[in-house]
Symmetry: C2
DNA sequence: ACCTGAACACCGTTCAAGT
DNA sequence: ACCTGAACACCGTTCAAGT
C-alpha cells in the first residue's frame, strides 16, 4: 500500500541463467517478466516511436506477453508511466560531495543542466511528464542534494525550497517543450518569413535572427535566473 | 493553401436573425455551423471537462452535428486545436502604446503576466499546447508588441528575439504545468512528509515550507529573469 | 497461481448512402 | 451540395476461461 516501499530503482535480483525461473516447477512468487524489464521496454518504445506509440497492446507484444499480464505489475497505465519517468532521473548517480565544493551558483547550474540533458536524451517523454511531476526516489535524491547545497551556502529554508522549486519547474517546463522542436521551429520560421506582409514591422526586423534554438533559450534563461538570484541575494 | 489567409480571429459576419441561413434555399457557400462556434464549443468542453474529454464525437454531439461534418471545417483534430489555442491569446487586445510607455522591464513583466493569467484561466488547455507552440495571428500580435518595446529601448535585434523567445518559453513552460497542480502538490506534499524516514535530511529541513504554489514560482522566476537581464545589460 | 483471448466501451478518421 | 450513420482500425481496462 505504501508506494515508497516499491522502489523503482531496485534492479531485478541476479538470478543466474535466464531459463532459471521457467525450469523450476515451484512457484516462487517472482513474476517471469520483472518490472524493470517492462519499464525499460516501455521507455525504449517511447524513445523509438514516441509517447503515442506506447500502448499496452504494443508493450505486451514486445514482451511476448499480454495486456492483462501488465495489470498484474501496474494497476494502470499511469503507474507504469510514473515508474518510467523516475527511471529517467536515474541515469547518473548524483555526486553530492563534488557538487557541494562548487558553491551554490555553479552547483545549481550543473544540476539543472544535467537534469535538462537527461530529459533531452528522451525528448519523447515530454507528454508523459505532464501527467505528474517527478516525485519518485531518483527525483527526490536529486532534490535532496540541491537543497543541501543551498542550505550549506546560507540560504534560509524558506528561500531554499523556493529556489529549488522554481529552478526545477524551469527545467521541466523547457524540457517538456523539447517535444516537437523541429515542427515548432518550422512553424515559427514560416510565421517569421511572413511577418513582412503581415504588417509586423518589429517582428520582421528581428526575423533574420530566426527561431532561437531551445538549447540556447535554456542556457540563456538559466544564466539569467542565477544572475538574478545572486543579485537579489547581495541586497 | 496559405494558412494565414484563414484568420482564426475573424468573427462570423453578422447575418441578422439566426434562422437566416436555414430559411434561404440558395446555397451561399457559408456553412450553417460557423468555425467560431465550433472552436468556442470545443474550448468550453476543454474548460469544463478537460482536454481528454474533447473527442470529436462529443463535440459533434454538442453542436447537434456529426463527426464527419467537422472534417468539412478542419482537416483533422490538430487543426482544430491550433485554432483553439490561438483563440486563447485573443482574450484581451494588447494596448501597444500603453505598454511602450512602461519601459522594457515593466512592459515585459506585464505581458508575461498577462499571458500567464490568460492561460491560467484555461488550465486544461495544457496538454494541447504541447502539440505545437502558438504561432497563430493573436500570438504573433503579442510577439510584435513585445519586440517593439525591446527594440525601442535599444536592445539589438539579435538580443531582442532571444529575450522574447526565452520569456515566452518560460511562460509557456510554467503555464503548461498548471495542468494538474493540485494532484502534483499532493504527491509532493506526501513525498516531503516522508522525507524524514527516507533519509533526506535537507529535504526534511525545508519540508515545512511545503509545496510552493506555482503562482509564486512563476512570479519569483519572472522577477529573477528580469533582474538578471537588467544586470547583464548594465555591463 | 498465473496467464491469456476475447469482450466492453471508447477513440480519430473515412466513405457510401441519403436528402 | 451538404450532411450523416456506419464502418475501420485502433485504444485502456476487465474477466471468464484455460493450464
Amino acid at each position: 500500500m505504501n508506494p515508497r516501499s516499491d522502489s523503482v530503482t531496485t534492479a531485478e535480483p541476479t538470478s543466474g541463467p535466464d531459463s532459471d525461473a521457467s525450469a523450476s516447477g515451484r512457484s516462487r512468487g517472482r513474476p517471469p517478466v520483472p518490472k524493470e524489464r517492462i519499464v525499460a521496454t516501455a521507455l525504449k518504445i517511447v524513445d523509438e516511436e514516441g509517447a503515442d506509440a506506447l500502448s499496452l497492446r504494443v508493450l505486451a507484444q514486445r514482451l511476448d506477453s499480454s495486456t492483462a499480464t501488465l495489470y498484474r505489475h501496474f494497476s494502470n497505465r499511469a503507474e507504469l508511466i510514473n515508474h518510467l519517468i523516475d527511471h529517467t532521473f536515474g541515469g547518473v548517480p548524483v555526486q553530492a560531495a563534488e557538487l557541494r565544493s562548487l558553491g551554490w551558483e555553479d552547483a545549481c547550474r550543473a544540476m539543472a543542466t544535467w537534469m535538462f540533458e537527461n530529459l533531452r536524451s528522451h525528448p519523447n517523454i515530454a507528454p508523459l511528464l505532464l501527467a505528474q511531476a517527478p516525485t519518485g526516489p531518483n527525483a527526490m535524491a536529486l532534490r535532496e542534494v540541491a537543497l543541501q547545497v543551498l542550505l550549506d551556502d546560507g540560504f534560509s529554508p524558506r528561500v531554499a525550497i523556493r529556489c529549488y522549486a522554481t529552478l526545477a519547474r524551469f527545467v521541466l517546463g523547457f524540457a517538456i517543450q523539447l517535444n516537437g522542436e523541429e515542427t515548432e521551429d518550422a512553424a515559427l520560421a514560416e510565421a517569421l518569413r511572413n511577418s513582412g506582409e503581415d504588417n509586423l514591422p518589429a517582428t520582421s526586423a528581428v526575423a533574420a535572427f530566426g527561431p532561437v534554438p531551445l538549447d540556447d533559450e535554456f542556457s540563456f534563461g538559466l544564466d539569467l535566473l542565477l544572475t538574478g538570484l545572486a543579485q537579489q541575494r547581495s541586497r
